[in-house]
Amino acid sequence: MELREFFDIDAVSLDVRGETKDDILKELIALLKLDDKSEGILFKMLKRRENLGSTGIGRGIAIPHCRSLVVNKLRVAFGRRADGVEYNAIDNQPVHNFFLIVAPPLEVSNQYLPVLGKLAQFAKDPEITRRLAELNSPEEFLSLLEEKAK
């Protein structure tokens, strides 16, 4: 399983502008292009997950995630913000890079947890923070995934 195959180029933004955690979550959700009601439900679920414990895993990276019936297959998005945002991350540092993962409650292919685990591993690569900061286009992001998360 390669992470690259789950990312649609339209769901990658290197210029998210939200100034708060909530704003960022809404921008990430918008990248999935759902209807308004589904976006609202998804936002509530992601907030609920964040209330259980921040998904900011350190090194400037957060992986907000949840399961929801509003999607019928695994959906992922990536957002980058040049200036970090306060996210209550594990290392108390601002977060610049956001990977959103949403899956239906039941998946035939059972991809949610493997993708979540693989992204968590990807985030631990010592080069990743710098490489993500240097990206100039969504295409370069996809290439980085191909290179680092085979």
Binding site: L34, M45, L52, G53, L69, V70
Partner: protein, 120 residues
Amino acid sequence: MHPQLELLLQIQDLKAQRRELSESGGGRALEEQEFNIDLDEAVTQLDARIEELKQELPPQVRSRVERFVETGGRPVVSVINGICYGCFTAVSTSSVADISRNDALNYCENCGRFLYVIPG
């Protein structure tokens, strides 16, 4: 979307989250190791929120939900291409009002589960 359907979706999504945190499979370990989550506290919080949301449902809807919970089933299922994903039979369009907009609270005539059509 019908407000009670929205509540039902939230309840079911929270239950999915709870299941992930309480079962001994990969989700529990991942949340604990990578995200440092306090699992017991998280499950307690989720249970409380699920109960709060259930209390917002009218008694007849709540009792239908409880019926499925008792048997370990999902009270809300998606409809994809006209098929109920609870019992995998075709949903009768004649008996289901405005199903595609999720504006009414509909249930499958075969299995009794509430139906949700994923937009798009």
